[in-house]
């Protein structure tokens, strides 16, 4: 069974796959969804940490 969130993530995976030119076998989708959910949760945890607007990313390019 997939819930509403799963369905919306599946739609996102389908659209993103099209945009990226990836052919995603329907059989792979549950695993892709699980991994994407986990990564988005980690990303949300990072995003929830307030940083000042002028915070520099770690890699700094030198011309």
């Amino acid at each position: 069974m997939t819930g509403k969130n799963d369905e919306s993530l599946d739609q996102f995976i389908g659209a993103a796959g099209d945009a990226l030119g990836l052919k995603i076998d329907p059989a792979w989708k549950p695993a892709v969804r699980t991994h994407l959910q986990a990564t988005l949760q980690h990303g949300a945890m990072v995003a929830a940490f307030a940083l000042p607007d002028d915070a520099e990313p770690a890699p700094v390019f030198e011309a």
Partner: protein, 459 residues
């Protein structure tokens, strides 16, 4: 010389032991034990014999020998070896042309007298903590061949712990040297980010990729590490700083160092054996102090996001053209990584700078931080989940919960093995950036005190 350390082998060769016979014996051990351990994916026997003869000829001619003379070693198969395609654990790379030249770390070890004998199994494209590989079969833990070596440098762990070679090289992006060191019960060094050249190796996540050695003694780690140091313009990340040899200060002991145990996040989730290992090390070093590495859990999350997305970017074209040739477990993670919003990645890199500054503050008060290397001892091959803090959790992505917040900011770490029964487990000895010498000193002191040791497996 079956279980001899690299330094003992080099000393014996300097005294007159034939390097050829040492290398031949290593090749025989590989032939005998590799069908069980599945650590090697290729051997380079002819090349090794030629090189070993050259060392014997040099000694006969009275020429000076290097500090690793006659020491057989092997490398994770993401290192370029002249004449072989660089597999990086994949099926897809089997179609690559053979490498034209060895990676610089192989060249530097061989310049010190070591002898390359082969290439080692690894998790596909290094996106792995298990040491399993669907194309080659799993590397197997020498202490219990039904169990994982840990990954992704699984063959490196198995080859050294199994006594096939005394020295191996691997890579560590999120824990891939420290995890197999822990599960296989050997010493592993993940140097400071930017210390050792990564040129002519197959990458995974440029932001976090490190290379380093595995051995059965801290002294061997130091000898190999010293031989590999030095700037290399072929790796833009490799720091332009002079070599800072660690071996000369190895015997200085740990008494005058300020050492603390990492609390909070690094205590949460650890199995009793992981806690026991840290407690034993802390007791041996007379450490009572506990410190909190701030936001370590968030650091792990940020490492997770950057890994998923950089890994996906690296492999996107292959995912388009050859998706069915990937290990499905790796492919599905990479596909997901390609779909993560860019804003999250940028935020993760901003957080990385913030976190680095906080952790560097800690190193004003301490020289060394101790933490578990893995939450548990080696799980069974094929195991999918484990109980983390009372919750059934997917195993594969979570073996590195304690290693990821450390490599995220490139700190040098020696994983030291505690010979617990029935299986060994490792402890991370973490030092400030560019202080590998301090971490190696502590590892050596623990070994001298009889607390850390690479247990010899029974075959």
């Amino acid at each position: 010389m079956d279980w001899a350390s690299a330094s003992d082998i080099a000393a014996a060769v300097a005294r007159g032991q034939s390097a050829y016979s040492v290398v031949e014996a290593a090749l025989e051990r590989i032939a005998t034990r590799n069908p069980l351990l599945n650590a090697f994916t290729a051997t380079v026997a002819d090349r090794a014999r030629v090189r070993a003869r050259a060392i014997d000829d040099a000694r006969a001619a009275g020429k000076p020998l290097g500090p690793l003379a006659g020491v057989p070693f092997a490398v994770k198969n993401l290192f370029d070896i002249e004449g072989l395609p660089t597999l990086a654990g994949s099926k897809i790379n089997r179609d690559h042309a053979p490498a034209a030249r060895d990676s610089p770390l192989i060249e530097r070890l061989e310049a010190a007298g070591a002898v390359l004998v082969g290439a080692l199994n690894m998790g596909e494209y290094a996106y792995d903590f298990t040491g399993e590989n669907v194309h080659e079969g799993p590397s197997r833990n020498p202490h219990d061949t039904t169990r994982m070596t840990g990954g992704s440098s699984g063959g490196s762990g198995g080859a050294v712990a199994g006594g096939l070679v005394p020295l191996a090289l691997g890579s560590d992006t999120n824990g891939s040297i420290r995890v197999p060191s822990s599960f296989c019960g050997i010493f592993g060094l993940k140097p400071t980010y930017g210390r050792l050249s990564r040129a002519r190796t197959f990458p995974f996540v440029g932001s976090f990729d490190h290379l380093g050695p595995f051995a059965r003694t801290a002294k061997d780690l130091a000898l190999a590490y010293d031989a590999m140091q030095g700037h290399d313009p072929d790796d833009p990340v490799c720091a332009d700083r002079p070599a800072e040899p660690a071996a000369p200060s190895l015997d200085r002991g740990a008494e005058r160092l300020r050492i603390a145990v990492a609390g909070g996040y690094f205590r949460k989730g650890a199995f009793p054996e992981a806690r026991e290992a840290v407690d034993r090390v802390a007791k041996a070093l007379n450490v009572q102090r506990e410190i909190e590495i701030p936001e370590a859990e968030r650091a792990r999350s940020a490492a997770y996001v950057i890994t998923a997305t950089e890994g996906a970017a690296l492999h996107l074209d292959r995912l388009r053209s050859r998706a069915n040739d990937f290990d499905p477990a790796v492919r599905d993670r990479l596909i997901a990584g390609a779909m993560v919003p860019a804003a999250m990645v940028v935020q993760a890199q901003k957080f990385r700078r913030w976190y680095r500054a906080r952790v560097l503050e800690l190193f004003k008060d301490v020289d060394v931080i101790l933490a578990p290397a893995t939450p548990c001892t080696a799980p069974a091959i094929g195991q999918q989940t484990f109980m983390l803090d009372g919750v059934e959790t997917p195993l594969r992505p979570n073996i590195g919960i304690y290693t990821q917040p450390i490599s995220f900011i490139g700190l040098p770490v020696v994983a030291v093995p505690l010979p617990l029964q029935p299986l060994p487990i490792g402890v991370q000895v973490i030092a400030a950036p560019w202080r590998e010498d301090v971490a190696l000193r502590v590892a050596h002191a623990l070994e001298q005190a009889g607390v850390a040791a690479a247990p010899r497996p029974v075959f």
